[in-house]
Symmetry: C2
Subunit: 278 residues, 2 copies
């Protein structure tokens, strides 16, 4: 497994693989690796001959009051996990390599970026869309893999890549969960033992909503019940619990088209998100 830190070295490596007739998958990560990330690498290896994983905590997707400074960083640990997971190349640039002086371009995906997470983190998806477009254009992979854990992010990235005609296939990978159902996330490390014990209620409740809607209950009727359940379980503020069209994230009235239950809620000072298919 090779480690490169410049766009030039990344491109040389990918171009050599392409010249040799090998296809390339990209797995963008911000480090803090867990089994969810490693499943993305496995998925990339299923779709492409070679896998590049990137390791970059993207400052432009954090608001000033968010956790950019404290986001889990452990390059040595991450590299060792990448190595054993079957990645072929790690791209670990510094901030100046990605955002040199004078960088002034941003990408906005309208509509789908502005609901749910977009209401609570208004600059988040522009930061994500911009850095992902850059990584895709730096590496020019054949496929790129993103986790369904960040379902709305996956939708935004699919829209962005399609709208800008980036020549890549964007592939979603199923959420990996702890034994008790909690979706794996680097931010789970912020939870204290009491909070950690409460956390799986989020998955339990959105799974129950999916079942209710499949059973014919109206999506809009789910929210008050879910908020009460989350509060009873020990959660704090509930940012949203919503049943939406699985592609457009627009509100739905039933399960006649593919739909998704998405939720975000606070446990102490940690904000958890999760989603399931209806």
């Amino acid at each position: 497994m090779e480690i490169v830190r410049t766009i030039r070295d990344l491109r040389t490596c990918v171009q050599n693989w392409h010249k040799a007739g090998q296809s390339v998958g990209l797995v963008p990560t911000m480090g803090g690796l867990h089994d969810g990330h490693l499943s993305l690498i496995a998925k990339s290896n299923n779709h492409a001959d070679k896998t590049v994983a990137s390791l970059f905590v993207n400052p432009s997707q954090f608001a000033p009051h968010e956790d950019f400074a404290t986001y889990p960083r452990d390059e040595t640990g991450d590299l060792s996990k990448f190595e054993s997971s079957g990645a072929d190349l790690i791209f670990a640039p510094n901030v100046a390599e990605i955002y040199p002086d004078g960088h002034s371009t941003k990408i906005e995906v309208q509509g789908i970026s502005q609901v749910l997470e977009g209401e609570f983190r208004p600059h988040f998806f522009s930061g994500v869309a911009t850095v992902v477009a850059k990584l895709l254009l730096q590496a020019l992979p054949d496929v790129a893999i993103f986790g369904e854990k960040d379902y709305q992010q996956l939708c935004v990235i699919k829209s962005m890549a399609r709208d800008l005609d980036i020549p890549v296939e964007i592939i979603g990978a199923a959420t990996v969960r702890e034994g008790d159902g909690l979706a794996m996330s680097s931010r789970n490390n912020y939870l204290n033992p009491e909070e950690r014990a409460v956390a799986p209620a989020l998955y339990r409740i959105i799974s129950e909503i999916a079942e209710n809607v499949r059973g014919g209950q109206h999506p809009a009727a789910q929210r008050p019940w879910a908020e009460a359940e989350l509060t009873k379980a020990g959660f704090g503020a509930v940012d949203y619990v919503a049943v939406r069209d699985a592609e457009t994230l627009e509100p739905v009235n039933d399960a006649s088209r593919p739909a998704r239950v998405l939720a975000a809620a606070w446990l102490g000072s940690t904000r958890l998100i999760d989603n399931v298919s209806v």
Copy 2:
């Protein structure tokens, strides 16, 4: 010369050239071809083995009150000019090929897009940056040529391509002028004979400003004189006359770094822009 109308056919053609070891240049146009456009094709042929010209009047760079509907369109005439100018492939898509239903992504280049033209046409550069990014990613050329006639647009495109890591070299080409100095532009067709006789004053006056600044006069002192001269010559409203840094378009106090004189002014209902190097 081949004509294609889909992104798929465009990519097949360019990929075949690349596989054969040939480099490719792209010249985006909105049609209404004049010798300025043909000089871009000649420049592309100097830099690349094959030249693709695109022919697409981009709706997203026109404001509702602007001239999208009346912009000069003559595909037959344009194709014949492309043919004799040495283009190898014409990409002439319809609007739905470029902006299919659901398109919702836009690119903003902050700072440099917001001054001069950006103050008078606030959505213009976002429309330009987005469509140019799409054309670059559709064709993936080695070089792309843009005229210095639209100098700020050239700066915005260079910033956008650099910031998003689009693997292409952006090359500017000198403005082509009529015998009396008027910069060639598809919009010159809008001028009546009296306006056409007045129009060259724009170039004469910005050239004089460049000479004054080279001679040590302060850039800020040029504007009142230039406005009076344009009015005396027969121009209507003057949107701006400015001396700016040639790269950042920020105001300058002298000619110690490369600078540019840029101007926009109205002749009847036609808005003319021009620029010269200091």
